[in-house]
Symmetry: D3
Subunit: 240 residues, 6 copies
């Protein structure tokens, strides 16, 4: 079987990470998974939210949003509707949890990093691209803090983190679904992993028929492969 864009089942789309895409942000990356394009910007502020003051611990949080015409047909702005949708909430929380999973809050000290992931163009996998790009932007923001002597410990980021989507389309497990694949997937899974090969988050959903344990195992394997490759690409981006 050939996929719609000619990829093999276990192939990622071309990944591109442009560091420093913004002039103001302490860390920023424009990440592309094929046509999916997400702008990740890290804003550093000294101090932490009130409920964390005096703890000696830092804080990392994330917000995800899509531009109205990032998608095939225009969506109304959530700011105009006056409320965030459930999907936006859900993905923002996922990104935040994923990043916090590799941050040593004591080493960060009482500093806050807010990570904005804005989808400029969507073609499937926006949340996984966001997490993958956000990690690289986070590294730059941590570098910024280090240069100014604002950190409390040496190793703020204890590992790397990347994420990928996998799914079963027409009975075949595929890596890194693009939009047309995503809408047809019977099972859809997003997996967040560390560079050392452990899981931070596994979210599998039967979109059509429920899935059996062995399908789950296949998908997890595929996701492990994808995250491993993304880890290499992140390292290259950070080395450049």
């Amino acid at each position: 079987m050939t996929r719609i864009d000619g990829r093999s089942a276990d192939e990622l789309r071309p990944v591109r990470m442009t560091r420093g895409w913004l002039d103001h942000a302490e860390g920023s990356v424009l990440i592309e998974f094929g046509n999916t394009r997400v702008l990740c910007a890290v804003s550093v502020t000294e101090g932490v939210p009130r409920w964390r003051k005096g703890s000696g611990q830092g804080w990392v949080t994330a917000e995800y949003a899509m531009l109205p015409r990032s998608t095939n047909t225009r969506s109304d702005r959530e700011a105009v509707k006056g409320r965030l949708g459930g999907r936006t909430h859900e993905i923002s929380r996922l990104i935040g949890r994923s990043l916090r999973g590799i941050v040593d809050m004591s080493a960060l000290g009482e500093n806050t990093m807010v990570v904005d992931c804005d989808v400029l163009q969507a073609d499937g996998g926006t949340r996984t691209a966001a997490i993958t790009g956000a990690y690289v932007a986070l590294q730059d923001a941590v570098g910024w803090l280090r240069q100014r002597g604002l950190l409390k410990g040496d190793t703020v980021l204890t590992d790397s983190v990347a994420a990928i989507s996998v799914g079963v389309v027409d009975g075949v497990p595929l890596l890194d679904l693009k939009y047309e694949e995503d809408v047809r997937a019977e099972t859809d899974m997003n997996v967040v992993m560390t560079g050392s090969g452990k899981f931070i988050e596994v979210q599998g959903t039967a979109e059509g028929a429920p899935f059996a344990r062995d399908e789950l195992d296949e998908l997890l394997l595929l996701a492990e492969l994808g995250c491993t490759r993304l880890t290499v690409l992140q390292d290259e981006a950070l080395a450049s």
Copy 2:
């Protein structure tokens, strides 16, 4: 190791399901997982949302909420704050997806079932109790529709569905976490399964350190066990 309430690692809390707890709802169940108490009410209306009209297909959706003093300390009402929180959105969507996973929308015909899951008391596992109880209430609502000859097909519910939480606490995988266990869990997973042993949703989150593949496998096994037992209890409740 003994658990805080004396259970063994693979033991469910006492489960109780009271059908017909409400007089008005077409199906209703008060489900208890130990001290967790969730009221599941199904409201049936003829017709479907506008975007589904003329499709011949029904619709099932769910809303989850917690009473302000269901928890240890009082939480502000979301109606007073004027917006739903991210967690509420997330869980409502999870319940809806889980139930839709076993509904044959053509057999349902152009009818809508809205499932309200209101947590009267919370002690961990509210979302899994909600899904487990909602299935039983759904059966009663389907029976109500059948009696009135409003269904288009014989088998609206193609399977049963139940859900359970599992997690790793102090390195030990535990089934059906109660609140004190939940807050201390390093890894936390909610699993939604059909009566026939397939997965509808798997959501695993590293709360502390990332988890390895074999931990994931252990947790999945434990969850399969728990869901199987819940299926038996659902059948008993429906038989009574």
Copy 3:
């Protein structure tokens, strides 16, 4: 004339109060007026709202809400609509005023009691059941404060408080209207009284034709009777 449920005109529906229905709340009562079922939960916190700090006085406030399927047909959640309706506001304020009418704020000291009245099932008289049940839950919460030595005075509750609805249906004054009676009532009145027989609130509304002074007098008499009986039942519940 016999009423729809066989009661005589001056007869209350069966009243049931279950104290301690919740494990966490400092005071809680599940009160039933026939099929009307309201969960009253009192949450105690040390300290008072900012505008009252340093006054030496406590504060009592109430919030009322209905579960979406407490009623015959499902109502949308106010949290989903993003705003409280006028009726909710009105009843919350009524409950709060009624309870504050018997609280000695100096004796309470700088503590706050928030009373949540959530209607689990509605069959007329939800606001009066809420007030009547809330008083009993308040007693338990005051007991909780007393045990911990957190009170400033001996008598926080200077009297008891109960409430009942009365109305004119088909020209006949009736006590404790159930839903079907309530919607047909020409005149509808809610009366809040102390155990010592004084009025805290009188709210009479002509739903159909305006009412004359002698009708008003008859209704007040009936309400006095009803509140007196409720006072006895409250005492029994507190004695048990």
Copy 4:
């Protein structure tokens, strides 16, 4: 005892009604109870809300609001806060119910009258002034409809309606409380009556100590007196 402004206990403040204060509204009255100044504007539209279409019946509704600096110290605008307060809701509903109490909806036919009562200056009794003025504006709006032949029946307004506040201050029952009296009142009652001497709404509240039945009776008598006088003044205003 002399009152703060020299009135006797059973004396109204000077009442002034200026009809046609607005050029656009189908009926409008600027009503003054002493320093309280409320602008009542009736907007007529053909047709009724969707839920009433085809019923042959009209609809009347009211909205009440205060200008931010109508009061002693400025209040924030509800439009800026993004939500209506409970008091606003409560009073809007009261005005609407009071006016509907004298409207024959069949005679009105499928027309809608929206009554806006905006408090330009507040000195106690704003809701009662609003109701009293709104009746006169309603008469003008009904005249406007009659002239255009848009009514279905001869007598749209079956009676007149007026409202007054009464209260107990320092143990003395007083008519038509001004602000300084209102804040000191032990008991506060708003009474809405028809020109023929019947009650549409009675709302009595113990602000301090609960009140006895005979106090209630005294207040009702005083209110009847006040409403009777307002009825005369309304007739004069309509005659001029």
Copy 5:
């Protein structure tokens, strides 16, 4: 050409300013430009918003709103809709900027003046009437502060400010457009000027065809004329 109300092209409508229209406000003016009627109320509070504390500087801000039936057909209340419209925001900001343009914030000292401009009746030019009236109310509020010795400098208001609308209707530049002219104007301009003849704000918009530089010049000239006359009228009002 004669205008709809018989004015010549460069003629203002009758202007009336009633100082002290409100009893509570520190400064208040009911200003009328023909049938346009705006109530301007200045509320003074000691202290400034948090972000300005300790600066030694005062603050002036404005809020503009229209009563629902100030216009030809009723508009929904923004408080009911739960959000301010763009036009309301825009005009509130314009009024605030215009007034701040003549205030010496150091002379004001750490005091805040909130200027509420509520349109009671609208017939074109509401924002310009609001600015013109607000200046006079501001003078009275400054006088109030001066009497109490609360100012830091002698000259809080360094100049006067007035505003007028001009526009091209059927090819003819007109001063002070009334509603029927405003909706037909090809070009519409609002100009805010100081008493000394300088500009604070110029806002010109092509409603129909774009306008040429010489039309712009003509309109500016006409606006200068109008503002000069308003300045005289303001002085007269303040002298009386």
Copy 6:
């Protein structure tokens, strides 16, 4: 005098327009005025808003927003705050009016073009860049409509439109202010002009001292120069 970035007073920053930056939108341009970067996307839908149906006329509207970290320090998302700010409203309306000024709605036919202008990076002049870029994107969207034979007339865009900011900094009139200049400007003006040299919108504001007529004239001249140059650049972009 040399400007902060070495430009002369009447010099634009480097302008770059990248057409087709998005794959989905019917027209899209990434426009850069120096470091200011705005993504303009035009979404075409057949049909018009309800209030315009059957008119034979099309509709064009615009929405402007800033990414949270487009600015020097992060701003909260308006979607999170739940309401649009006044500035956002104001600029969205300005862009919409400016574009409608050159659209022949009859030639467009009953089609709608929504123009989203999202500021990815802000360094002064975001609204003028948005208008200038939106025109080019609009041309592409009109081309898309023409190709599909969906237009009613030959010339939908009757002229071109561009916008520029001008201001007085330290007494010197400057063209195309960058952020550091903008915050220091005594007078700030945004001018929207057609390619044929006429004005669509002129908005001048005294940020510090009021400005005299001759300063206004100087600024207008400078703006005419800037818009003329932008017109040339737009033509080049469209020719490529």
